[in-house]
């Protein structure tokens, strides 16, 4: 596939949203004002007002930043553990047929089970506190991290391995000097998928039972019959998720300076 998006597309992307978002905003405001949906649809103004209030006053005893940090902490701890265990596991599975034969079948039993389906079991095991949430987020991140590292190594270009062998590389050197660096882009794709899945899992875990966190926030909004708060929470969730993804992309560009961007 050699097509590259025309440059005008990128320019448009920056100009058009300003116009269209304004249009959407106005339409939304009018719709809310018309009262057609009643209390259920707050206007953009209501949402902004609510947002400002949330910045100033704590919700259920915790500031807005406190809620955001609570969720982020769970995701980041889980992600960290998933990465430490998952990347080496995936890499070895992809490189060594024996390791693959031992680990893969067990992995394949657990893989199709959505991380969210683990929530009841996790709560049964760990109670309702930090542990089950971190566990769920771990499961969410673990699977993509392992799978991507695994396929990354499996599809190592045999030509590169041949070149290394000609230069005198031992098996271990082939792994460390060729296969692993070649798999890094795939590993990073796994990290992206893993952390975004983890982010979704923390929401679900928090909605089932929590006293703080962004998932708790939107649930609180629901319990307080406050759609503005819910919408604020949703937008914050979206923004934080996007920020995390952007952060990871930045890290990737630093660590893999040779990787050329495919024009999007």
């Amino acid at each position: 596939m050699s097509a590259i998006a025309p440059p005008s597309f990128i320019r448009q992307f920056q100009i058009i949203p300003l116009v269209s978002v304004a249009a959407v905003g106005i339409a939304w405001q009018l719709l809310a004002l018309s009262g057609y949906f009643g209390m259920a649809l707050p206007s953009p103004v209501d949402v902004i007002r609510q947002f400002l209030q949330m910045i100033q006053e704590p919700i259920s005893g915790v500031s807005l930043l406190g809620h955001i940090w609570a969720s982020m902490f769970r995701v980041l701890s889980a992600f960290f553990i998933a990465v430490i265990i998952g990347i080496p596991l995936g890499l070895f599975m992809g490189w060594n047929k024996k390791v693959e034969a031992i680990v893969k079948p067990i992995f394949e039993i657990f893989r199709p089970i959505p991380p969210i389906a683990w929530i009841p079991l996790a709560i049964l095991w760990f109670g309702i506190d930090e542990a089950p949430k971190i566990y769920i987020c771990f499961i969410g991140a673990f699977v993509p991290v392992v799978m991507n590292a695994y396929t990354g190594i499996r599809f190592t270009d045999p030509l590169l391995l041949d070149a290394a062998r000609m230069l005198g590389a031992s098996k271990k050197q082939q792994f460390l000097e060729v296969a692993v660096p070649a798999a890094l882009p795939a590993v990073f794709a796994g990290l992206q998928n893993g952390i975004s899945l983890s982010w979704m899992c923390v929401l679900a875990a928090e909605m089932v039972g929590a006293t703080k966190g962004v998932g708790y926030l939107i649930l609180a909004g629901m319990n307080m019959d406050n759609p503005s708060m819910i919408i604020c929470g949703m937008l914050i969730i979206g923004a934080v998720g996007a920020a995390i993804a952007a952060g990871l992309r930045l890290a990737e560009r630093k660590i893999l300076p040779w990787k050329r961007e495919i024009a999007q």
Binding site: D157, L159, L160, D162, A163, A164, R165, M166, L167, G168, A169, S170, Q173, E177, V178, P181, A182, L184, L256, P257, W258, K259, R260
Partner: protein, 251 residues
């Protein structure tokens, strides 16, 4: 003339996934003399690369022997350097890191590696590009890196697998001259595989012509013309005519 490499009664077949067997090499007997530039010429898909891999030690013959200095070749080794058609450079390493890779794998210190690599980068005409990544280089430049890398471990034999096949015509002519220049400056035994008749006559001391699959040696030609050779020289053209008439077409 000392014999550097020898292929004796070499056969190679592969078993496909559906169980059928396909014969690639059929009773190949080739010798290569020390510091000679031997060209293996043949139509596409006829087993030239397979044969070169056997000489390299990346694969083993189904029957027959590959010998270097009279000893059987059992596996890849830095005494045989290889240059690949698709360059096979490590994208994540800079030019100097790529060139020095063979030394790194053998435990040579960083400063020694970089010294040697820099000299070779100069030899292939890429001074100034030491810190560049392969993605930033043109095809011809990438192949120069490939050649420098192969030379860096001081191999006794250089194996080149259609190294200019992926380049455009202009660059190809240029690289042919470059290879000769480098070879004159640092003499090695070279086995050069190609499907291009002009390239074969331009470069080779001797040409071994392979048939189409399953391949056997059709003919051998000694090229007595002094270098640098001219593509338009009547002797060149006559030889080209002779070889072309004898060549099989690949489908």
């Amino acid at each position: 003339m000392k014999q550097k490499l020898a292929a004796e009664k070499v056969f190679k077949s592969f078993r496909r996934t559906d169980g059928t067997v396909i014969e690639i090499l059929n009773d190949i007997n080739i010798t290569v003399n020390e510091n000679e530039l031997l060209v293996i010429l043949g139509p596409g898909q006829c087993g030239k690369t397979v044969f070169l891999k056997l000489v390299a030690g990346l694969d083993t013959p189904s029957a027959g022997k590959i010998l270097m200095d009279g000893q059987p070749v059992t596996g890849p080794s830095p005494t045989r350097g290889m240059v690949f058609q698709k360059y096979a450079l490590m994208q994540w390493k800079t030019v100097i890191e790529n060139v020095g890779l063979g030394l790194k794998l053998n435990g040579v210190s960083r400063s020694e590696r970089d010294d040697k690599a820099e000299r070779l980068i100069k030899l292939v005409g890429l001074s100034g590009f030491e810190r560049a990544y392969p993605d930033q280089l043109s095809g011809g430049m990438k192949q120069r890196v490939g050649i420098a890398r192969a030379y860096c471990t001081d191999p006794e034999v250089l194996l080149m697998d259609e190294p200019f096949g992926a380049l455009d015509a202009q660059t190809r002519y240029q690289m042919e001259d470059e290879v000769l220049r480098i070879w004159e400056e640092a003499k090695r035994t070279v086995v050069f595989v190609t499907n291009n008749i002009e390239e074969a006559i331009y470069l080779g001391d001797r040409i071994v012509l392979l048939s189409k699959c399953p391949a056997h040696v059709k003919a051998e030609y000694e090229i007595d013309l002094p270098r640098p050779r001219a593509f338009t020289d009547p002797l060149f053209l006559e030889l080209r005519h002779r070889i072309a008439d004898n060549s099989d077409l690949a489908l």
